[in-house]
Every structure is written in structure tokens, then in C-alpha cells.
Symmetry: C2
Subunit: 343 residues, 2 copies
């Protein structure tokens, strides 16, 4: 593309990027969690996979740490040292943990990363409290960071979107599968951008803001993260129906049995070919036939086309950033890693 | 009212102060709530007493609005116009509403202000979500206010304390009534300052900060609010045992039947005269005998003495503020109103 170095060096594999960022952020994240009330700190540590119930050390699988990586790479994309992104990384990981704790209560999900969800392990009330504490700690961490009010404004806008997306998602469950009240693919896009995209965009944008990036780069990273979030959610939906349960950790047909209004389902419900689909969904449904019908109605292909579209926009936004060492390459690598999973 | 200089005028009664501040803040609070997801906005409006379940307008009793009044008076105490305190007032009322929604879930309290609690009326999951949304809105409101990062720092410190205080309070319930593991009156003071005092202090301090007060005045108002909070909680405890149920809205002996570790109970449990008290507490206890025993052991008098001590410190801190029109007088009037209730 240009007169070579450093942009031409192959970026490290995405897994190395995730590992590097996780190791960089871990001490600050642990320090922040250590400032919580001890009881709440244990629930937080459990949710990160650092301990068992009761506090015994553990090394359970935590999340991939995508959000912290985006924050660190955002700072690097601004030309700053990776460390400039640490407060942003800590804040977004705390917000993510808060949202998982509370979403599991709202959705009645008893399992998270193959362990009992916090509300199952500690009780609903304590899990509500732990989520609140993580939320407050995120705001506190960012308010104390040198980035100042701009950072808190970015985070609070993402928080507001996150909650709106969760409200959309909860209400989707109450709406019919057919007729004018049914959920449209357009509404799904809005929900996914809020519920998943807002925090991914915020992570990269916050890291860039703390790294001293200008407004256009901050805005571009925010938009890239939002498109990545929608793409990620679409891929997750496809894997939820056609993925390998050994890889996804979800039971075969689980999303269909729960009657989840995922994108492939919503797309198929709009097609006359799938008019029998509603009867095949839900706990008394026939998930294998439903999956075949959704595929025949084009739901799988539409979700993948849509995901590729969002990925392409995100990629274009990242390529338009001012070049900064290897950060853009690593961001692109991370993007591919997240949306090309096992497809 | 007179030809005398303003400082000498008798302050208006506290009820007028509360009414004035509530009317001043209401449009901005309603505007903020209107920015929420419509479903969540209804739950928020229900919690403020503005509507019934389903959205029909109501005029149910909301809270007294102590926190918003402290924020407005804090701004006035800084010599600013009352309107300077509005973003602070909105933020602290939203945080208060959030904490009531979530605390009612954690404590299993089915009733709030003589109506079903939000979780009883809308379900636990939706109430968790509505609390989260109010929390996010509070941070968003303050981050957008001209006060800048100092304001968010004050709020996030209060939020962290609020959650710590709730954790303390939940854990008190699991501890024994006797022996070295029992809750001490000193631990109670810390809990009450965090759970009730931190947000009252934050309200006044935030209002003052947005009104342009210097650091010493902001800190003095924060401390005054914290002492007020402890005093308020102590008075609430006394009313919970010996108050008139028609006034308090609490059933006779309710706190004793629930085995709540209130200050009078904790004080009495430290006295050899009350060694039979544990047997009289709880659902199978005898609340009338318990109340008499607590009083004989000095629990009621100790709580009132302690409350008067905190009130005196708060009063002294308020009197030490630079004089600003009638604000100090109104703050003192509010203080007396809140801690001299029906004693």
C-alpha cells in the first residue's frame, strides 16, 4: 500500500493482541476491584474468573477481554503509549462485567462461561448490588483519569445506550412473531448497536481520547466499534443456530427453543416461505426443522451478508485513521478474529 | 416581608423550602426522565409518583425531595442563583430513585410509599433495568453540566459509598446478636454515613460546586450532609420502634419483628440488662416487650443523644459557611425539620 515500514509488518495474531492487552490491564483492574467492599470484591473476582465462591483462587475462563483490547489499541492508534488507555480499559471491562451480572438476572440465565452465574452462586440481591458497585467503580475510575469530562461523557452515553438496548431486547421477547407488531430486522440492528456496539465503540473511542486523539479519530473509532458490535451479534446469532456446541458452549438449538428473536429468525419470519416457522419455535418446537426452514428462507445468508457489510464499514473506518505504528493492523486483526469465528 | 436586611429575616418553613425546590427542579427532572427508553421512563415516573402502572397520570406521594433541596440550597449558599444547582439536583434525585429501586429488590420490600414497589409492580428484571437506567442518566446529566469533572468525581465517590453502605447493611442481617461477631454501634455509624449520609452530603456539595463555591465550602457541606444522614437514620430507627404508625407508615414493631439491627437494638445488645433481647426479636419474637427492654437498656436515649450530636456538628458546619442571603437559614431549617420529626 505504501513505501513500507511499519505499516507493512504483519500484525501479531489477534490472540496475541488480546493476551498482551489483558496482561497490561490486569494489575489496574485488580487494583480497582480491590477497592470494593470485600464481599462485593469477591463477587466481582468470581465474575472475572479469578476466584471460586468463598474466595479460593481460580483460573476459570474469563471473557476474551475484547473491550480492554480496543481501549488499549485506541490509545495506541492515537500515537500514545498503550498505558494511556489503561483507565479506559478498566472502565469498559467493569461496565461489561456489570452488564453481564444484571443481564443474567433479567434474562434468567443461570450459567455464564460454564459456571453458575453470579446471581445463581450468590443470590439475586447480592448480584444486583455487585453490578451496581462495578458500575459505580467504572465511573469513579474514569472520573479520576486525566482524560477529564470528555471521557465520562463518552462512557455515560454508552451506558445509556447499553440500557436502552437491553430494554429493547427484553421487550422483543413480548412481541408476536407475525403481523404488524412483529420485530423488524431494522429494529434488531438498532438493538444490537445499542446493546453490543455502544460499549465496543466507547472502548476504542475512550482509549483514543485518553491517548490524545482528535475528535474525528475518536468519532471514527466509536463508529467502527458500533459496526463491529452489530456484526459480532449477527455472527453470534448464526452460531447460536448452526454453530458447533463444543465451540460455542451453547446447547444445540438453544436459541430456537428459547424462541429468541435473533436476526436469522426475524429475517425468515418476514418471508412467506417460513409461515410455519412460529409453530416450530419455543420450548415445544422442533429446532432442527426450524433451522432448516430459516436457512431455506434465507435467514442464515442474510445474517452473514449483513455481518459482512458491517465489518466492511468498520474496516474502512479503521483504515481511514491516521497511521500509528502497528495499532491499525492490530485493530483490523482483532476485527477479523471476532467476526470470522468458525464461519 | 420587611425592611430588615435579608440575613435577619426568619427563614421560610422547611416545607416551603422543599416545595420551592421541588417546583424549580421538576421540569428538568421530567425532561431527563423523558429521555429514557419509554418503558423504562414509565417505571421511573411510577417510582416518582407521577403515574400509575400503565402510564395513567397520578399524583401519588413522591419523596420529600430532600436531596434536590440540598443541591439547590448548596448552589444558593455559594452565592449563585438557585438554577445553578438544578443539574446537581436532578442527578442526586435520579441516584436516590435508583437506590430505592434496587434496595427494595435486595431487601425484599414489597411496598414503597404505600404503593407496590417497582419490582412488585413491574417484575424484578425490569426493576433492575430501570435502576440501571436511572443511574446512567444521573451520570449523563452531570457529565453534561457545566461543572465538569469535579462534579462527576463528587457523585461517583458518593455512589461508591452508597453501594458500600448497602453491602454493610445486607451483611449486618447475617451476623449474630451476641458475641464478638455482633455488629457494633460504631459499625452502624459507618454504614449509616455511607448509606444515607454520602448522598445527602454529595447533594449539598454538588450544588455548591456547580454554584462556584470554593473547596472549603464544598467540603463543609459534604460533611454537614453526612452528619445529617447519620442523624436522620438514627431518628428513623427510633420512629421505627416507638413512632406513630399513622405517621411513619410502618407497622407497629415492624423493624423488631424483622430483627433489623438498628442503632437502639445494637446499643441495647451491648448492655448486660438486655441479655434476653435476642429471644424477643424476629418474626417469632415479642416486639412490645423488646421495645420496653431496649428502652430500659438505654437504647432509645442513646440513639437520640447520638442523633443530637450529629445534628449539632452539622449545624456548626453550616453556621461556618460564608453568609449567602437566606440559604444558610433555609439549610438549618431543613436540618431541624428532618431530625426533629415527631420526637
Amino acid at each position: 500500500m505504501s513505501a513500507l515500514p511499519p505499516a507493512v509488518q504483519a500484525p501479531p495474531p489477534a490472540v496475541s493482541t488480546l493476551d498482551r492487552c489483558r496482561e497490561l490491564v490486569r494489575p489496574a483492574l485488580a487494583e480497582a476491584v480491590g477497592r470494593l467492599h470485600p464481599w462485593v470484591a469477591e463477587m466481582a473476582a468470581y465474575s472475572f474468573g479469578w476466584c471460586e465462591v468463598g474466595g479460593a483462587p481460580a483460573a476459570a475462563p474469563g471473557g476474551k477481554g475484547v473491550r480492554q483490547a480496543l481501549a488499549v489499541l485506541g490509545a495506541e492508534a492515537a500515537g500514545a503509549d498503550a498505558r494511556a488507555g489503561i483507565p479506559a480499559a478498566v472502565a469498559v471491562e467493569l461496565v461489561h462485567a456489570f452488564s453481564l451480572l444484571h443481564d443474567d438476572i433479567m434474562d434468567g440465565d443461570a450459567t455464564r462461561r460454564r459456571r453458575p452465574a453470579v446471581w445463581k452462586a450468590y443470590g439475586t440481591g447480592p448480584a444486583v448490588l455487585a453490578g451496581d458497585a462495578l458500575f459505580a467503580l467504572a465511573v469513579e475510575t474514569l472520573a479520576a483519569a486525566p482524560g477529564g469530562p470528555g471521557g465520562v461523557r463518552l462512557l455515560s452515553a454508552a451506558l445509556a445506550d447499553l440500557v436502552r438496548g437491553q430494554a429493547d431486547d427484553l421487550l422483543f421477547a413480548t412481541r408476536p412473531c407475525a403481523g404488524p407488531e412483529r420485530v423488524t430486522p431494522g429494529e434488531y440492528r438498532v438493538m444490537a448497536e445499542r446493546k453490543t456496539g455502544a460499549l465496543l465503540g466507547c472502548a476504542a473511542a475512550l482509549g483514543a481520547a485518553l491517548g490524545g486523539a482528535g475528535e474525528p479519530a475518536v468519532a471514527a473509532l466509536d463508529r467502527a466499534g458500533r459496526h463491529l458490535g452489530v456484526a459480532f451479534q449477527l455472527v453470534d446469532d448464526v452460531l447460536g443456530v448452526w454453530g458447533d456446541p463444543a465451540v460455542t458452549g451453547k446447547p444445540v438449538g438453544g436459541d430456537l427453543r428459547e424462541g429468541k428473536k435473533t436476526f436469522p429468525v426475524l429475517f425468515a419470519l418476514g418471508s412467506p416461505a417460513a409461515r410455519h416457522l412460529p409453530a416450530l419455535l419455543g420450548p415445544a418446537g422442533r429446532p432442527e426443522e426450524a433451522a432448516a426452514l430459516i436457512e431455506a428462507a434465507g435467514g442464515r445468508a442474510a445474517a452473514l451478508t449483513e455481518a459482512r457489510g458491517h465489518t466492511a464499514v468498520a474496516r474502512k473506518l479503521l483504515r481511514g485513521l491516521p497511521p500509528a505504528a502497528g495499532a491499525t493492523g492490530e485493530l483490523l486483526g482483532l476485527l477479523d478474529h471476532l467476526v470470522d469465528r468458525d464461519l
